[in-house]
């Protein structure tokens, strides 16, 4: 199999160069080939005109190429400070100087606007914080080349702005920056030039200023995008059926989220908005029973529901996709088919195997519906591109036809076309009567798909807004409004 086919590609000092393409186009593979993770079987790489060949990322780093790979590739068992400075720890008398290290890490973190304890374990932070830490690690060195593979996939607007500020500073210092993103807005904001990949081939190289969105999207997907604008703001606000599907009363968990009330109606999409660390994921995990609540009750279909763990939630028709697909989502070594039917199979019990034919039909259906590539049921999921993995994860829950679907960052790392597709799927599911909880760092998306938006701040539900007139700015105002009063 050929992942990359004779790609020619130039990266100039002092420019931000965006690499674009659909999920599975070969962006990450190109980056891995450039940095010596994958061996190349043809072609050469020149760094500042000198031919180089890297046997492993360590050599690429030594040559001044600093990379943030797509999935967060850090060690969750180590502290934040260590993850930032591993391999270049400050030393005193030959020994690692822990205090200096934490101080340096804190400084680097504050550079990207993250104020967390550098001594805390990385694993205790959500995936978005981990992603920021990875970025902090990459910008900590004086690199000649900085490569960022989807660094913004789970960040919200504020963090993205902060990241771009740093990127601009580095660019002005003459660093060559390669940037991968599925957010066209971001690309237009930051990139000087772009290269588009499709199926492992370069489609074209453009100056950002000279190429329009539609042209760009056409280059990426090879045809005109039709679905993109289909999912418009849902025009009429759905009248929730008087009986809520799920009603949470005073539900909370000490140290994770303050008790809150929430009603979810069939056929309704409820968005959850909030800052990084505001407790969105926690709210979702409580509703699903992944974490145990220590206060409050959940009523489901009018009856009180004892959530003893994911199984009991699933049994009642509640589904949850985790934001951390690598650690909590996919079973990397198993095939697409196995991953796709995992939840369904688990619900049926081990004795009643999902028949092979049914499984293959389901795979075929969702490969088609979500455009999963490669369209091979026997592909090992770990080898799929990030976006395609995310689609498999989503499909896993769609096949169980839940009554309530909780999506935590379902569009993380998903390309423009597929993102619209997923939003459409969500809209369709709701239209069919499913209740959906939709969490995303991208506020536009939340506002666009939701009938109602729950706003969280500081691990507390502070507001609930609904109606067609709700705008992103309203939500931002809610999130930010009182936050400014909190002394920091």
């Amino acid at each position: 199999m050929k992942a990359l086919d004779e790609v020619d590609f130039r990266l100039l000092p002092g420019e931000v160069h965006a690499l674009l393409g659909e999920n599975g186009a070969g962006k990450s593979t190109l980056i891995k080939a450039l940095t010596g993770v994958h061996a190349t079987d043809a072609g050469e790489i020149r760094l500042a005109g000198v031919p180089v060949s890297f046997h492993g990322p360590a050599q690429a780093q030594d040559a001044g190429i600093s990379t943030v790979y797509q999935e967060v590739n850090l060690c969750t068992n180590l502290s934040v400070a260590e993850n930032i400075l591993l391999g270049r720890e400050p030393r005193r008398f030959g020994a690692i100087d822990g205090r200096a290290m934490r101080a340096r890490a804190a400084e680097l973190l504050s550079r990207i606007g993250l104020h967390i304890d550098p001594g805390s374990a990385l694993g205790s932070h959500p995936i978005a914080v981990q992603q920021l830490v990875a970025i902090a690690r990459a910008v900590a060195v004086d690199a000649r080349v900085l490569i960022l593979d989807e660094p913004t996939s789970s960040l919200d607007a504020g963090e993205v702005a902060e990241l771009f500020r740093i990127v601009r500073v580095l660019r002005d210092e003459g660093v060559a920056i390669l940037f991968v993103s599925h957010f066209l807005d971001q690309v237009y904001e930051i990139a000087d030039r772009l290269t588009v990949l499709r199926n492992g081939k370069v489609v074209g190289e453009y100056a950002t200023a000279k190429v329009g969105r539609l042209e760009l999207v056409r280059a990426m997907i090879g045809r005109d995008l039709t679905v993109l604008d289909e999912v418009e703001r849902r025009s009429e606000r759905r009248v929730p059926s008087e009986e809520p599907l799920l009603r949470a009363e005073n539900l909370g968990r000490a140290g994770s989220i303050a008790p809150f009330d929430l009603e979810l109606h069939p056929g309704e999409v409820v968005g959850v908005a909030g800052l990084l660390g505001s407790g969105r994921t926690e709210l979702a995990r409580l509703l699903f029973g992944a974490d145990r609540a220590d206060s409050g009750h959940v009523y489901f279909d009018g009856k009180i529901l004892k959530l003893r763990g994911p199984r009991s939630a699933i049994a009642h028709g509640i589904a949850f996709t985790s934001e951390d697909r690598k650690a909590e989502g996919l079973v990397a070594d198993l095939t697409v088919r196995d991953n796709l039917i995992l939840a369904m199979q688990a619900a049926r019990g081990w004795a009643r195997q999902v028949p092979r034919r049914t499984a293959d039909e389901l795979v075929a259906k969702y490969v088609e519906a979500l455009d999963i590539r490669p369209a091979d049921a026997d592909a090992v999921v770990g080898t799929l591109s990030g976006g395609n993995q995310q689609k498999v994860l989503l499909a896993r829950w769609l096949v169980t036809r839940p009554k309530l679907l909780i999506l935590d960052e379902p569009t993380r790392g998903i390309d423009v076309g597929a993102k619209a597709q997923i939003q459409k799927v969500v809209a369709d599911l709701a239209a069919e009567g499913m209740a959906v909880v939709f969490i995303s760092a991208e506020l536009e998306e939340v506002v666009r798909v939701s009938d109602r938006v729950v706003v969280l701040r500081d691990r507390r539900k502070i507001a609930e807004v609904s109606g067609t007139e709700v705008t992103v700015d309203d939500v931002v105002a809610l999130i930010a409004g009182e936050a400014e009063k909190v002394p920091s």
Binding site: P57, L86, S124
Partner: protein, 338 residues
């Protein structure tokens, strides 16, 4: 446009609900230590003459070699590997020492030869694991067969060590205050522990060991020299086993091919009891030392009990081990079981 603050202001509470200031990663070690102290206390109440300084000192004297071996094992396990060869390498070391001393080699040369052999065997296994991608379990099982086999090739019978230097080191004791005496073996073992702790926590090599254990692929993508570390830990373990073997030969003053049979399980048990995760990335050498002391205490309790039949001895060892682990888990229980 004024960007809202990036993240919510820091909160006191974190996801791991721990009221104390003790970082949760120390909990298993502390728990093991607490359980160790409790058991020791129980022993002192039950048996006369148990709570003497010398009994504690004996724990170290009798287990000095195991401490050293467990330290090496800790390195390997921290990277997510395992080293089954340690027992055999200990035996091989005693055998080489005894045989070369009998052949008239000077003591220093013998010591060098033994340590070099251990490190070399470790290197071989490390290369198998890293370069050829052989699973650590098999690579070191082969090493185990090889080392034990070499023992038999050298001599089937046991060989006494009569060398003056070795005897002097073996028989010398260091008086501590309170009428407690320890051997040089204990001193060496404690030095090894200190050096190991230094290496693991204060050098890049050591931190990379943890990183590799946490996630090898991530460590590689972070640009760390994972290969060097993966081979390195087996060299260290081989070296520690050889050093442990030397301590064992001081302790026994003999070389024998059936010495230290099953020691690898003791070492692994000590490391794991000490709170290190077999999956790698989590654990401390100090934990392994406490683990060794725990196993030693079990043995001491049994010899103080003094009337157990052979089978009850085995059962009691199992039960005590279980009690330890269960208590330890009870203390650490608040951590999520993943």
């Amino acid at each position: 446009m004024t960007a809202p603050p990036l993240v919510a202001p820091p909160r006191e509470k974190t996801r791991v609900p721990l009221t104390s200031r003790v970082p949760s990663r120390f909990l298993p070690v502390i728990a093991t230590f607490v359980v160790f102290v409790l058991t020791f206390g129980a022993g002192s109440i039950r048996y006369e003459g148990f709570a003497t300084g010398q009994v504690v000192a004996n724990l170290f004297i009798d287990n000095a070699f195991l401490i050293v071996v467990a330290v090496g094992m800790t390195f390997v396990i921290l990277t997510g590997g395992i080293d089954l060869s340690v027992g055999s390498v200990v035996a091989l070391s005693t055998m080489i020492a005894a045989a070369t001393l009998r052949a008239g080699w000077p003591a220093w040369l013998v010591i060098l030869a033994v340590l070099a052999t251990g490190a070399l065997l470790g290197l071989g296994m490390g290369v198998m694991v890293h370069r050829f991608g052989v699973q650590p379990f098999i690579a070191t099982l082969a090493g185990m067969f090889l080392a034990r086999g070499l023992c038999f090739v050298i001599s089937v019978e046991s060989v006494s060590i009569k060398d003056g230097t070795f005897r002097d080191i073996a028989l010398a004791s260091i008086e501590l205050p309170g009428e407690v005496a320890i051997t040089y073996g204990v001193v060496i073992a404690l030095i090894v522990v200190a050096v190991a702790a230094y290496v693991l926590h204060l050098t890049r090599f050591g931190r990379t060991v943890y990183a590799v254990g946490g996630s090898e692929s991530s460590a590689t993508l972070m640009g760390l020299r994972t290969g060097r570390v993966k081979v390195g830990v087996y060299v260290i373990s081989g070296f520690c086993s050889a050093l442990g073997g030397l301590l064992f030969s001081f302790y026994m003053l003999s070389g024998y091919s059936l010495h230290a049979v099953g020691l690898e399980l003791d070492a692994i048990a000590a490391v794991v009891v000490g709170g290190t995760l077999l999956a790698g990335g989590v654990g401390y050498v100090v934990g392994s030392v406490v683990g060794v002391l725990v196993l030693g205490t079990v043995q001491t309790l049994i010899s103080f009990e003094g009337t157990l039949s052979s089978w009850w001895t085995k059962i009691v060892i199992g039960v005590l081990l279980l009690a330890f682990i269960a208590l330890q888990r009870l203390i650490v229980r608040r951590q999520p079981v993943k």
